[in-house]
């Protein structure tokens, strides 16, 4: 008997290289593939940001070999305005979609969700494999736009219409470039929908005996909540992209208004709604922010608990708060459009739920801090990055107070203040989550330890560098420095250029520091010292697998049975200071919340 519902149990381990490592059905391999994709993407994105930063600091400077990357965009190695915007657009798109969405959610989620719920695999391995390869194709399509005559689109990752919808007359890259962009994103949505489908069903139906929903570790909850958000958000973005493509290639007018005159040419479109794209995009766009950050919250909590040797003050309150974030994220997207010409009443209406988001966020932070109190904190690369995440999340969070208010948004909208805000709270925080997870799970994934001292150096430099880059962004914003400018020609921006130079230097330095991590990753991968069975003395199911990395079916044919809440640490009267979820041992003073 063989059908969808029983793949997970019955699909046999692959023989042969291709089925094992390339077109593999094994969620662990797929997870690693996602991680590799994210790694490649983040390196590209980082190089792009370097080029942008160098140009912003020294806009008249020639950047050697720039013309090799994109000859049309860099006559004499000087960056043209359109080329800057194209780099900016690709930086944003690649980072948001192919790094912040894939790494914490698709990569770690794929690898550890099935293990943490005690399953052999995801219920629909074929969908899972498709989800990765579809994402991979969409990445290729996105990168390919660098090699079309006019280069990639310059419309920014938000791709506002009508600039994105009227075609090449509105600027270089606005023809083929936009179509490739929209196609790539639409494909990406399919991949993530397939992934979310798997994540949700895994969480609901694949749990081991005894693994009730409340006994899921916080990571699993993070991924579950994220997949629910992804399912709805990406399902909205995909049709939007298709409509955008139609405006381009089929001459429809969904987003393009009547009587637009570009370059002295009256455009053929008529009657389209400019704000429609913004509504559709931000209905996806805001949840997307939480899709990037909630898995990080899960990972950070998971890592911290193991290193605090105590559970969080409340398991459930954290879960409720993450859930609240997810629900609210759909009610607040309008705060991206306060000055967009949307009805000012709706601006006010969107302002309050946005401010409300502060409450669950604050609760999460307070629980983290409160749980630190009186704990036995172990300092290692993983816990350091987790703590760094908290610091970043706080810093990025408080600047949200400003942007949540339409009146202040009049001053700060579309300035570097916004750039600083979302880089701290979403981008860097999420990446700290990825680092934390990498240092924490590397032994499980590879069977080897990463180098701790390198990890600590990497952390400290990255932590300081990150603040050097993104704190000044807020000051620039206060002074009214508009974002998405390729050079600063306005008189009032001249005094700010030294600050830009400082940011550029910090950015390049911090970027270089990341190669310590890359080295550590690959060196430990091949030469790292073998990992003990449970290096962090952690309790959740991924540490109950018979080997590291886990065997093909994760538990070597056994079916784990779960007896406890995920985080039985600091348990008195038990043999160690912790009790595994799978150990039938009686727990006197557990932190079980029944």
């Amino acid at each position: 008997m063989h059908d969808m519902s029983s793949h997970a149990v019955h699909h046999a381990p692959p023989t042969g290289f291709i089925r094992k490592n390339v077109f593999s059905l094994d969620h662990k391999v797929i997870g690693k593939q996602y991680y590799a994709l994210a790694l490649a993407a983040v390196l590209i994105g980082m190089v792009l940001s370097w080029l942008m930063r160098i140009h912003l600091g020294w806009s008249a400077a020639k950047i050697p070999f720039l013309h090799l990357l994109f000859s049309a965009g860099a006559p004499g190695d000087l960056m043209t305005p359109e080329y800057y915007l194209q780099l900016m657009t690709m930086h944003g798109t690649i980072m948001v979609f192919f790094v912040l969405t894939t790494a914490p959610f698709a990569a770690f989620g794929n690898y550890f969700l099935p293990i943490q719920v005690g399953a052999e695999d995801m219920p629909f391995p074929h969908f899972n494999m498709m989800s990765f390869w579809v994402t991979f194709v969409s990445f290729l399509v996105m990168v390919s736009s660098f090699f079309v005559p006019d280069g990639p689109t310059l419309g920014g990752w938000t791709q506002y219409a009508p600039l994105s919808a009227v075609g090449k007359v509105s600027g270089p890259g606005q023809g083929t470039g936009v179509v490739l962009w929209a196609a790539s994103i639409a494909i990406f949505c399919i991949g993530q929908l397939l992934g979310s489908l798997n994540f949700i069903t895994t969480t609901l139906d694949m749990r081991a005996r005894g693994m009730s929903l409340w006994r899921l570790p916080l990571t699993a909850w993070g991924w579950f909540i994220t997949s629910v958000m992804g399912l709805t958000a990406f399902a909205v973005l995909m049709p939007a992209c298709i409509l955008l493509i139609l405006d381009h290639v089929a001459g429809t007018s969904f987003f393009v208004a009547s009587n637009l005159v570009i370059n002295d040419q009256l455009q053929p479109h008529s009657g389209g709604s400019t704000l429609l794209w913004q509504h559709l995009f931000w209905f996806f766009g805001h949840p997307e922010v939480y899709i990037a950050i909630v898995p990080g919250m899960g990972i950070v909590s998971h890592v911290l608990i193991a290193n605090m040797r105590r559970p969080m003050l409340s398991h459930r309150v954290l879960i409720y708060s993450m859930g609240a974030l997810a629900v609210l994220s759909y009610m607040v997207y309008g705060h991206h459009m306060f000055v967009s010409g949307m009805n000012p009443f709706s601006s006010m209406a969107f302002s309050f739920p946005t401010l409300t988001i502060t409450i669950p966020s604050t609760i999460i932070v307070l629980i983290w801090l409160g749980s630190l109190y009186g704990s036995k904190l172990r300092i290692n690369s993983a816990s350091l990055f987790a703590l760094g995440f908290i610091s970043m999340f706080i810093s990025g969070g408080v600047s949200g107070f400003f942007l949540a208010q339409p009146s202040i948004d009049i001053l700060l909208h579309a300035t570097y203040f916004v750039v600083g805000h979302f880089h701290l709270v979403m981008a860097v925080a999420a990446i700290f989550g990825i680092f934390s997870g990498t240092y924490f799970w590397f032994p499980k994934i590879t069977g080897r330890m990463m180098n701790e001292s390198l990890g600590k150096v990497h952390f400290l430099l990255t932590f300081i560098g990150t603040y050097c880059i993104f704190m000044p962004f807020h000051y620039l914003g206060m002074a009214g420095n508009v974002r998405r400018y390729q050079a600063f020609v306005d008189d009032y921006l001249q005094p700010l250029i030294p600050l830009h130079k400082f940011i550029t230097i910090s950015a390049v330095a911090t970027g270089l520091v990341q190669f310590i991590f890359i080295y550590n990753l690959f060196h430990s991968y091949f030469k790292g010292e073998p990992a003990p069975e449970n290096p962090w003395e952690a309790t959740s199911l991924e540490w109950s697998t018979p080997s590291s990395p886990p065997p093909f079916d994760n538990f070597g044919g056994k079916h784990p049975v779960v007896y406890h809440d995920p985080y039985q640490y600091g348990v008195e009267g038990s043999t160690g200071d912790y009790v595994m979820q799978t150990s039938p041992e009686e727990v006197k003073s557990g932190h079980d919340e029944k």
Binding site: A60, S71, A72, P75, G76, L78, M79, T80, P81, E82, P149, K168, V169, G171, P172, N263, D264, Q265, A487, V489
Partner: protein
């Protein structure tokens, strides 16, 4: 860079390569022969003349460049106006393109001048305002300003010339550009400085643009009977029939009526 001619290559090029080379050689030799013969015939003829505007020229609005201070300073002394109709002393009409529209032999039409004219962007203006070019003639696009300009020619979409749009930051090397098909005239704009506007007139064979007295001289015209066309961006075209004899110039004057 050859922005003008990035069309699809014929997939079967390779098969016809040899023929291509042969015919190319043939053409070249014919051309060489022809020019040799022309040279032996004591030089070629030329068409000269003046172009006048009949009536009062329209008011040319002044251009406010306050958006681009670096350019505004350049013109601080005498502010610039539009250049759609530029009338010089005694009603001479400037920026009129004069070219041979009929009667040119294939050989003469096929010749591409070796000199590469310059299309300069200076003080946020195009210099010259109108540039006459031969098909496939190389010309340079130069940015002499302290600011970036984007060069955005929009030829007739029905034709074979391709629209392009490309920025040139200050200090960037000149662009080397050609147009592949005749078109009178391709409008050129800079979107960063919307007032910047000019024309590139792409023709086969010899041509000229009238100076600030309305005078022009079309050189290197082989003897023969021709139809000469004068094109002005506002008043359109006028034609005249001329017969060019070897060695001596023939005059063709045009007068446009002010609307």
């Amino acid at each position: 860079m050859n922005v003008g001619s990035n069309q699809e290559k014929d997939p079967m090029t390779s098969r016809f390569k040899l023929t291509g080379i042969m015919s190319a050689l043939l053409l070249v030799s014919v051309a060489a022969l022809y020019s040799a013969r022309g040279a032996s015939a004591a030089g070629e003829g030329k068409i000269t003349g003046t172009i006048k505007l009949d009536g009062t020229p329209p008011h040319m609005k002044p251009i406010d460049m306050s958006k681009e201070p670096s350019c505004q300073q350049i013109h601080a002394a005498h502010p610039v106006t539009l250049e759609n109709v530029v009338v010089g002393a005694n009603g001479g009409l400037q920026n009129v393109v004069v070219y041979i529209s009929e009667g040119l032999s294939a050989g003469a039409a096929g010749q591409v001048p070796s000199e590469t004219p310059t299309w300069d962007q200076k003080g946020c203006q195009y210099i010259p305002h109108v540039l006459a070019l031969d098909v496939n003639q190389h010309f340079k696009v130069v940015n002499s300003d302290q600011t970036s300009h984007n060069i955005h020619p929009t030829p007739n979409p029905a034709g074979t010339n391709h629209e392009w749009n490309k920025s040139q930051p200050p200090g960037a090397p000149p662009f080397d550009v050609t147009w592949t098909a005749p078109e009178v005239a391709v409008p050129v704009k800079c979107n960063i400085h919307p007032w910047m506007h000019g024309y590139m007139a792409v023709v086969k064979g010899p041509s000229a643009v009238s100076d600030n007295n309305g005078a022009f001289t079309v050189n290197d015209v082989p003897p023969g009977n021709y139809t000469v066309t004068a094109w002005q961006e506002v008043y359109g075209t006028q034609t005249a029939k001329v017969t060019v004899a070897a060695g001596k110039p023939v005059t063709a004057d045009f007068t446009f009526k002010a609307k």
